[in-house]
């Protein structure tokens, strides 16, 4: 009995509170323009924005549309603009936001809006494909062996291997907003991942692709991308690395 009381005291009750979510809606069948719609939801302090969106979709308005897959911050489906900052809905705890004010949720910017929080990601992936994000090697590894790489060589591109292609960085970039032709931070990050890989032999090809009017020189180092990255990648640093590599002519 005494142990039961002690266990109960040790586990604090999960706090519940009411919040207001203002979501930028766009239903292409009905709406000419996107509009803001307000929802009141009861949530727990352990809930994330994604849970609040689920509660709205399941209990209040089934027409609310958004993408999510793993819901644990690794698939990169649910990047959205939460209170003006690009975040993953599944990694943003509601208690970390200012819940005395309404929370604004909208689709990521700069890509064509399809419905509610869903945008057309194709231009984003088109830029990604253009930087050839795959290993291009002229040599074959020793028979029966992997390609060897020193710890130091692996270290060079370690940060950029973390990208989950959620588009939070690219759609937080003011240059991308005004000029959709800019490759965008995500494509440069994924080029960086192979340019600085000692096993890859096509670094010069990728540097040539990014030494473009719409390539790395378009970056204004506003650090929006670094702030937006849910994986904590130093995106602006990666872009600076690629700039230096273009100037040197090699990785």
């Amino acid at each position: 009995m005494a142990t039961d009381v002690a266990t109960q005291a040790a586990v604090p009750e999960v706090q519940a509170f009411n919040i207001t979510l203002i979501i930028r809606r766009f239903l292409p069948e009905i709406d000419e323009e996107a509009r803001w719609e307000s929802f009141d939801v009861e949530v727990y302090s352990t809930d994330r924005i994604l849970d609040a969106l689920h509660r709205i979709k399941w209990d209040q308005d089934g027409s609310l549309s958004f993408r999510r897959s793993c819901a644990h911050g690794i698939c990169g489906s649910d990047a959205m603009r939460i209170n003006g900052r690009n975040r993953l809905a599944c990694k943003t705890l509601i208690k970390d936001l200012d819940i005395t004010q309404p929370i604004y949720v909208e689709a990521i910017k700069g890509l064509p809006l399809e419905k509610d929080l869903i945008v057309d990601m194709e231009p984003f992936f088109a830029a990604y494909r253009e930087v050839k994000p795959f290993l291009i090697a002229n040599s074959s590894p020793e028979p029966g062996k992997e390609r060897r790489q020193s710890i130091e060589d692996r270290e060079r591109f370690d940060d950029t291997t973390k990208c989950i292609l959620c588009a939070a960085c690219t759609t937080s970039c003011p240059v991308f907003w005004t000029d959709g032709q800019y490759f965008g931070p995500a494509a440069i990050v994924n080029a960086h991942r192979f340019i600085f890989d000692s096993r890859d032999d096509a670094g010069d090809v990728r540097l040539d692709i990014l030494n473009d009017k719409e390539g790395v020189w378009r970056c204004r180092t506003t650090f929006n991308c670094t702030d937006a990255c849910p994986r904590g990648i130093q995106v602006t640093q990666a872009i600076a690395d690629v700039k230096q590599a273009v100037l040197r002519g090699r990785a």
């Binding site: 292409p28 996107a34 959709g180 030494n211 390539g215 020189w217 100037l247």
Partner: protein, 150 residues
């Protein structure tokens, strides 16, 4: 592109073309920036602080500076580097903000023409400036006092 506000607006990446000057533009901005820091602060010190300071600046002061090839080259460098640096910066801002292709072209053209006009006029003045030109007798009173009698 108005993709931010207009839902479902068409969108596609287009293929690049033409020579790429962006890398050289980027390097020029950094190199000229470093040189300009030296040139401009040197200019400000000599004009505003050294000697009599800001009260010493008059027509004779400028005439005296441009009599020396050293200051001619200094001011020429400052003129060219600063105007190209500034014009390239304006070009970048126009690229970032202009919403239509035509407007961008017009604005870039205007920036180029004004920078070119200022560079040409400035260069002309630095090398052809003569504080004591030969004038007709009735205009002699217009010449500065330090000029030798004609």
């Amino acid at each position: 592109m108005s993709t931010v506000d207009a839902p479902r607006s068409p969108y596609a990446r287009t293929q690049r073309s033409g020579t790429n000057w962006e890398k050289w533009g980027w390097m020029y901005m950094r190199a000229s920036g470093v040189v300009l820091v030296v040139l401009i602060f040197g200019h400000l010190f000599v004009n505003m602080v050294a000697g009599e300071g800001v009260r010493g600046i008059d027509f004779a002061f400028v005439a005296g500076k441009w009599a020396s090839p050293f200051w001619q080259v200094w001011d020429l460098l400052m003129l060219w580097l600063a105007l190209i640096h500034g014009a390239n910066g304006m070009r970048t801002i126009i690229n970032d903000y202009s919403s239509s292709v035509t407007l961008g072209k017009v604005l870039r053209g205007a920036v180029f023409l004004s920078a070119a006009a200022l560079i040409i006029l400035g260069t002309l003045v630095i090398f052809t400036f003569d504080p004591c030109p030969s004038v007709s007798p009735e205009q002699l009173g217009l010449l500065p006092s330090f000029c030798p009698p004609q």
